[in-house]
Symmetry: C2
Subunit: 404 residues, 2 copies
Amino acid sequence: MHDDQWTTDWQSVLADRTKRMTRSMIRELLKFTRVPGIISFAGGLPAPEVFPVREFRESSAFVLEESPERALQYSETEGFLPLRRFLAEKVGKYGVAAGPENVLLTNGAQQALDLLGKVFISPGDTVLTEAPTYLGAVQAWNAYEPRFVTVPLDDDGMRVDKLDELLERNPIKFIYVLPNFHNPAGTTLPLERRRELVDVAARHNVFIVEDDPYGELRYEGEDVPPIISLHKENTIYLGTFSKTLAPGIRLGWIIAPEVVMDWLVRAKQGADLHTGTFVQMLAYDIASRGILKRHVIDICRVYSERRDVMLEAMEEHFPEGVAWTRPQGGLFLWVRCPPAVDTEKLLKRALEVKVAFVPGFAFYPDGGGRNAMRLNFSCMPPDKIRVGIERLGNAIREEIASAQ
Amino acid sequence: MHDDQWTTDWQSVLADRTKRMTRSMIRELLKFTRVPGIISFAGGLPAPEVFPVREFRESSAFVLEESPERALQYSETEGFLPLRRFLAEKVGKYGVAAGPENVLLTNGAQQALDLLGKVFISPGDTVLTEAPTYLGAVQAWNAYEPRFVTVPLDDDGMRVDKLDELLERNPIKFIYVLPNFHNPAGTTLPLERRRELVDVAARHNVFIVEDDPYGELRYEGEDVPPIISLHKENTIYLGTFSKTLAPGIRLGWIIAPEVVMDWLVRAKQGADLHTGTFVQMLAYDIASRGILKRHVIDICRVYSERRDVMLEAMEEHFPEGVAWTRPQGGLFLWVRCPPAVDTEKLLKRALEVKVAFVPGFAFYPDGGGRNAMRLNFSCMPPDKIRVGIERLGNAIREEIASAQ
């Protein structure tokens, strides 16, 4: 195809950090899920049938009619000011005194994680995460070469009672926590634990990164105040429109103290100058017209039904010895099989009957989760959830039998 | 505003790399340019009056009518396949045998620079750039803590004849070059120099990063083949829609060997999962309907007129001893004042008469350019260019007088 006389030995010119970059197992898995007829509980995708398509159409037309020269032009690194104001007010309802100067728009919450890694993690620094934790955070941060220390979860989220000892023994840079409808575990951290978390972080002088992509998708119970509302000056909060509006516009945000914002803005300038102007104006138009709020109610109705269907089907079809979380919101639940079951092997069996999920080990930065798995309930219609869970139950049964 | 008992000492928790991150001088300067009545030659902004607004409206409506569920959903890290195919064919016309597997969509070319830094630069590695060079590249790469070695330019771009000695003395990771209508210098590298560049890079076993944001905006003369067409397996090529369609959609791309693509995709997954699906489908729709080509012709007509007006006004109003480049395309030209003139001081004087530009030193990673400046000619209408250049000529005259 070419007549060059030599070729760079590309492996030899990679940066040291690059050797730690792995492809996302989930994104690779998604390739399997494109097989026709597959019932996939593997993705973290919102259901496309609940996207506010009409609203996107109307807002696109409006923005390109009213302010095309602004929407298509370069804009400020911090983000579109009215949208920043809107997002500051959003967290303000929990008593957080944030203004637009505390908000940075990012390309999804994934970029927020990347920028935090860039600004805070030197090679060898230690980050404390939950185990299991959000895979994308580990992937983003691996590029900055940290060490990970983990704290386990139970059905109420992070085992905050174990933090004191961990922080005593390790020089932690920050604590990463998903307090609402945890990905992958589906758990929610109760207010009491949030208070304890804030106290222990303060005692050990470490800050907290609160990742909250699902907080608005609550199907039962009362909202729990975000950690940032208990601990504003030492918490960095991450939000996203990916689950409430649509992920294809890649729009997330960071709320942080102004002094941190200054560094994040520098990092963001180097990374991509700014987030797309057009999509920010679109999101602002949709959000400010009150559509977002109504739309979230619609999503919650659809997803809570799917969650209920999945939980019922699991009761019916999963064998004895299998346990799972009962999330009050979000997109995921977490299943623990008997120790003899290796969910990586189980996945092969499940794919044979056209069911996909993500094996638990993918969510452990330092090993574990071999008998667990994450199930997504938002993306399949109820009838497919029933069929898929029945097949998965059978596959687990077979795997238990073959393991004995 | 808050009642926390303690506050993180944020300075003390920054990563080492963060200390090298600076705010973009140009983006900071853009704040001045929002003063009413200012005539700004400082930005690198395309003229909003030539944005293809009607086409964006039509394509938005079309994409959200035909494939809303796809446009608003997560998508592949590599980018929207039809768009990747389109971009591979685009470079294919120069004889580069690239397929979609060689193309990665990014959030503007700025993210392309960031991803290259992430994948290739270990702290202490040496990168060879031109001096002056694109400021955004230095800013992106500073986060990865390289050392910069520079090669000067003349009116034909990079002094390729100086490379052998520089490469002999320094262990260079890669050579960064803007061959077409250089930002900030406005120069174009002739074919003969491109061939020499490729030869010397091959002899020293270093690869080339070819940054080509302006290549399509040629106002006179013949296209020069891109470096990647002379040297495919060892050149990484960067392109962008920011100057041909609109920067507010943040859409750029990388063309690289497949083995490099694999690493870039990992880095991109960690950085933000993928570039916005909706804007990629928009750009593809506009580009594939042949609108892009027609639109580039329109832009070239408008910008070449502005370039001519600026060059004429400079002939008329700039004092003796001032020299400038005569770009065959792009958005910028480069002015050298007599050595006594410090363009940072000149800028203050110019702002008093409501004219802005970027002082030359901003484009030198290792010092220099104190008597130079970059002028953008794309963003102001002809009458303002004439007035602005006249004022700037007077300011230079005054600055020369006061320096004596």
